[in-house]
Amino acid sequence: MSNNQAYLKAAHRFTSIHARPAYEHHQMISEETLLERAQKLDEQSLAQLHDRYYPLVYRYVRYRLDDEQVVEDISSEVFLRLLDHLHKRKSEIRDLRGWLLGTAGNIVSDHLRQKYRRRNESLNHHEELPGTDDPQRAAENREARRSIRLAMQSLTREQQHVLALRFSQELSIEETARIMNKTAGAVKVLQFRALASLRRLIGIQENK
């Protein structure tokens, strides 16, 4: 493998959906600066902030919920709440990613709580999996994913949150710890317990 090929292969692993504007790279405190300008309702800063973090929020919410419309509504709501927070100059946001994902987690949890109260679970909102022409296989995949998602919704809020951060955002332990304001060790334990619980839940469902 040539140097270029090895470099590009390594670079692919760093591809993210956050394409920073050119000059932002040269600012060591770009997030703080962006927030500061956004607080003054500077339209360009607000647009950059939204576009930088929307994919992060969307992927998190999509991982936890099936209904596409609900996912879009909640993702948008997160940013509207951010605007309220900035405008009313509530407590300072130290970690924007953490704030956004935490808020998304809370709104998702609220939505799920209301959904269970209404006993309005829809059996029709299934995730369409790409890449298979076999209807039976597609149906089996959908059912499997539905089972897993239902099982995940039985975990504690923190356990759901850590799984979503680790496996939908594919954040490292360190990044997850920073966002959840926990130590790396605590995140490892939380992740372990979440998957151990999930393993039991999936096992219980399969035996029904």
Binding site: A6, Y7, T15, I17, T103, F167, G185
Partner: protein, 373 residues
């Protein structure tokens, strides 16, 4: 509890190794005593990863959300503007003819100009960076954004070289091409690096590529690396011309490779959002999302097909690498390097066994109880 803590640590290591490309059998072979337990947990982990490809963010959803967000901001601003009108009027009447106001404005301009020579660690350095940002905003990213980035990169390199020449120390952030130094060690655009063994090992994969470095300039005129990774360039614009292996986007030629991830249908005239890496030959497209024509928003920033993010938590014996390289033609004097074995990572406080005995972000996030649905 200690046993569970050990198992959770082992399990986390297993996940890291799987992410790094080890097979499940290889990973379980390293922990024969816990293999049965780990195997079922790894199956559970595999089950919760998104099936098939990574979750794709619809451009239409993002654009719609953005519109709502900016519309609300505009509404808030109008309300704020009305309330502030009288305050501004009062202020203006008091200060309109004030010589002090004029002098303050002149002083600010002088400070901005005076910051041009500031180096990292200087009081005026943030002013310098802010001025660069204002320049970018005023320019509206017109012309060649990649040339703008290259220009700023060149400034950062000169700052580092000047710090070394002046015997200054401090934290720096710069980019360039990574090359091995003559004899031993590594250079980024002629700037010598100090890296630990793990970083050196990772540097092998980055040789010849454009990287970004965060580190500390030490008294020996070297940069002690804290972080090094490939430098990615966002390039958003109109796809002007397409050829099998290269495109013309905003008058910039970018190369496609066999690994380029394309989301959407390439068509001349469409808005594209690209993330590219830089090699000595060219900008190479890593991932690109193409808008579907009428959905395109010229101001939208890139929403490329998401890929797995690398887990930067170091594997046992491996730490993330951070490196610097000189831009072509840069006349920065190379200095012989020595590799170090220092681990620059900080340690976290002792692990806690309890899921919830940590300070939560209650003050920042909406207050909600932890409860099962």
């Amino acid at each position: 509890m200690k046993r569970q803590q050990d198992l959770s640590q082992i399990f986390a290591e297993c996940l890291q190794k799987l992410d790094a490309g080890y097979s499940t059998d290889q990973v379980l072979a390293e922990y024969p005593d816990q293999a049965e337990q780990l195997s079922t947990l790894l199956q559970a982990a595999a089950a919760v990863r998104p099936a098939g490809q990574a979750i794709r963010v619809p451009a239409s959803a993002q654009i719609d959300s953005r519109r709502r967000f900016l519309a609300k901001a505009s509404q808030l601003k109008r309300r704020k503007g009305a309330a502030g009108f009288w305050a501004v009027l009062h202020f203006t009447r008091r200060h309109l003819a004030s010589a002090a106001f004029t002098l303050a404005a002149l002083a600010l301009l002088l400070i901005a100009f005076g910051s041009a020579g500031a180096l990292p660690g200087d009081g005026l350095y943030p002013v310098k960076l802010t001025a660069e940002g204002i320049g970018a905003s005023l320019a509206g990213h017109s012309g060649d954004p990649l040339a703008w980035e290259t220009n700023l990169d060149r400034r950062r390199l000169k700052e580092v070289a000047q710090m070394i020449a002046n015997g200054r120390t401090g934290t720096v952030n710069f980019s360039g091409f990574l090359d091995p130094a003559e004899g031993s060690g590594w250079l980024v655009s002629g700037i010598p690096l100090v890296m630990n063994e793990n970083q050196i090992r990772a540097a092998g994969a980055l040789t010849g590529g454009y990287v970004e470095v965060k580190g500390n300039v030490n008294r020996d005129g070297q940069v002690e690396v804290m972080q090094i990774q490939p430098r990615l360039f966002p390039l958003n614009g109109i796809l002007q011309k397409m050829e099998p292996d290269q495109w013309l986007v905003n008058d910039t030629v970018v190369l496609l490779t066999s690994d380029t991830r394309i989301s959407g249908t390439p068509q001349a005239g469409r808005q594209v959002f690209i993330q590219a890496a830089r090699t000595r030959d060219a900008y190479q497209v890593l991932a690109v999302e193409i808008s579907a024509g009428d959905e395109a928003s010229p101001e939208a920033t890139a929403t490329v097909t998401p890929t797995r993010r690398p887990d930067t938590t170091p594997l046992p014996g491996l730490t993330p690498l951070t490196v610097q390289t000189p831009a072509p033609g840069e006349n920065i004097k190379p200095i012989p390097t020595q590799t170090g074995n220092d681990d620059h990572e900080t340690e976290k406080p002792p692990d806690s066994e309890d899921d919830s005995n940590h300070e939560d972000r209650g003050a920042e996030n909406e207050g909600h109880e932890n409860s099962r649905p």
